[in-house]
């Protein structure tokens, strides 16, 4: 795998095809879980693990899967892997399981896993597919962390609420005064939809601005860079 390939995969996952902001996939867990930043980060970490595993499994087996039955086979692979991850976490990393555990079954409802398996892993070698899974998950991670952080700030005036369940020594940060009454809409699903809409608009605005700037500037400097 070349460096170029890796950076394309990373850029696609983190920004260009961001699961939540560009593909707008997997909204069910997104809305349900992002009532604070910590939950969003934890769900994303569990998703990164499952996406990397299912992508590498499908990419390795892709030459043995007939095109006609690929979807049932993909579902079989993803479901089996999620269950195995769930069991292994429960058995070996029980403390982490108590924190992440409720999110692992939620991943099954996340169509992004199947989407990446079908769109990427079924056509690419295992190594690239692993990175695709990881970076798609990283894109989801920062989006969900941002969305969760905004929602709890609006709703509760805190940041990283629930962090003491992951790291008992840490405390949530109270950003707004303690007598902040709380803005309930931020914590309810409609608030998540509204904020997600704002984030998508922000991304589209940045992309449009970058595109306009690229059009205005002559392509010469880029070409010159390529020569050296």
């Amino acid at each position: 795998m070349t460096r170029d390939e890796l950076s394309t995969i990373a850029w696609n996952g983190i920004w260009k095809q961001n699961t939540s902001l560009a593909q707008v996939l997997g909204l069910c867990p997104l809305l349900a879980v992002t009532t604070n930043a910590v939950n969003g980060i934890m769900l994303s970490l569990a998703t990164i693990l499952v996406m990397a595993l299912s992508n590498v499994a499908v990419a390795s087996l892709r030459n043995f899967i007939p095109h006609e039955i690929r979807i049932p086979v993909f579902i079989l692979i993803v479901a089996a892997l999620v269950t195995v991850v769930d069991l292994l976490f429960n058995a070996n990393l029980h403390q982490l399981y108590l924190v992440l555990g409720i999110f692992i079954p939620l991943i099954v409802t996340n169509c992004i896993v199947l989407a990446r398996v079908e769109a990427f892993a079924a056509k690419n070698p295992p190594l690239q597919s692993t990175f695709d899974g990881i970076f798609m998950g990283v894109g989801m991670l920062w989006t969900l962390a941002l969305l969760g952080g905004l929602r709890e700030l609006l709703g509760n005036g805190t940041l990283f609420g629930g962090i003491d369940m992951v790291f008992p020594s840490l405390q949530p940060i109270q950003l707004l005064p303690a007598d902040y009454p709380g803005f309930l809409l931020g914590l309810l699903p409609p608030g998540a939809f509204i904020l997600l809409g704002c984030l998508i608009a922000w991304k589209n605005w940045l992309d449009a601005r970058a595109a306009a700037r690229a059009r205005r500037q002559p392509p010469a400097p880029a070409a010159a860079l390529g020569c050296h």
């Binding site: 009532t35 604070n36 043995f64 899967i65 007939p66 006609e68 039955i69 049932p72 086979v73 079989l76 692979i77 089996a80 269950t83 195995v84 069991l87 292994l88 429960n90 058995a91 070996n92 029980h94 709890e152 709703g155 509760n156 609420g161 629930g162 369940m165 009454p181 709380g182 309930l184 914590l187 309810l188």
Partner: protein, 220 residues
């Protein structure tokens, strides 16, 4: 000729079916392997969690029997809001009844049923209450769970400890807004109202059934 047969519809169908079957066999084997391998560890940690939860509602020095094994199965009990069978644990100290630990459900939470684990001492006073399952609004009604309660020193659920029918009149088992003694957080009254009502009903039930429950045959 043979090539034509390889691409015939029934042949194709058989081939894909065989491949799908093979995948099913492989991944089912993987699943059952993982299940067998992790079974013991998962059972052990489930037991540990149960012990910890019981320890949350009833201090371990309150009893000296094997609490988890001294259990009876309760039929569906409307007084506890339970539509299904549940398990009741009996704590004894030096052979005499010490406390009952059982589940109850508050059916009228803001977002459906709230499951509770309640420990009532033999003298009728509450040893502890914990919410085990609920769907109340995150950040608003979920302070009934001590983990989510922002007041870590005196979590809301702690105010039930020590209450009994003797020291709290029937009217007292309501939130302050309704003229009772139970505190609540402004903006979320439905949740504490539901919990307080269910706890009150459970205490009355335990008071009435105490003797019968301790005399019941052990289930295991």
């Amino acid at each position: 000729m043979s090539e034509a047969r390889a691409f015939s519809a029934p042949g194709m169908a058989l081939r894909t079916a065989a491949i799908l079957f093979l995948f099913v066999i492989i991944f089912t084997a993987l699943l059952s392997g993982a299940y067998q391998w992790s079974k013991e560890a998962i059972e052990a940690s489930a037991l540990e969690e149960k012990t910890k939860l019981l320890g949350d509602v009833l201090p371990v020095d309150a009893y000296d029997n094997d609490l988890i094994r001294d259990a009876v199965t309760l039929p569906p009990t409307p007084e506890l809001g339970l539509k299904e069978a549940s398990t009741l644990y009996r704590a004894r100290k030096a052979g005499t009844p010490a406390a009952l630990v059982f589940e109850a459900v508050a059916p009228d939470g803001y977002a459906g049923r709230i499951r509770l684990l309640i420990a009532v001492r033999a003298d009728g006073s509450l040893a502890g209450v914990r919410v085990t399952q609920h769907k109340e609004t995150p950040g608003l009604g979920d302070y009934i769970e001590p983990k989510k309660d922002r007041n870590k020193e005196h979590p809301w659920i702690g105010q039930f400890v020590g209450r009994s029918l003797a020291n709290t009149p029937d009217k007292g088992w309501r939130v302050r807004k309704d003229g009772g003694e139970i505190d609540y957080h402004a903006g979320a009254t439905v949740t504490p109202r539901a919990v307080a009502k269910a706890v009150h009903k459970a205490v009355r039930w335990a008071d009435r059934e105490n003797a019968r429950l301790f005399a019941m045959e052990n289930a295991k």
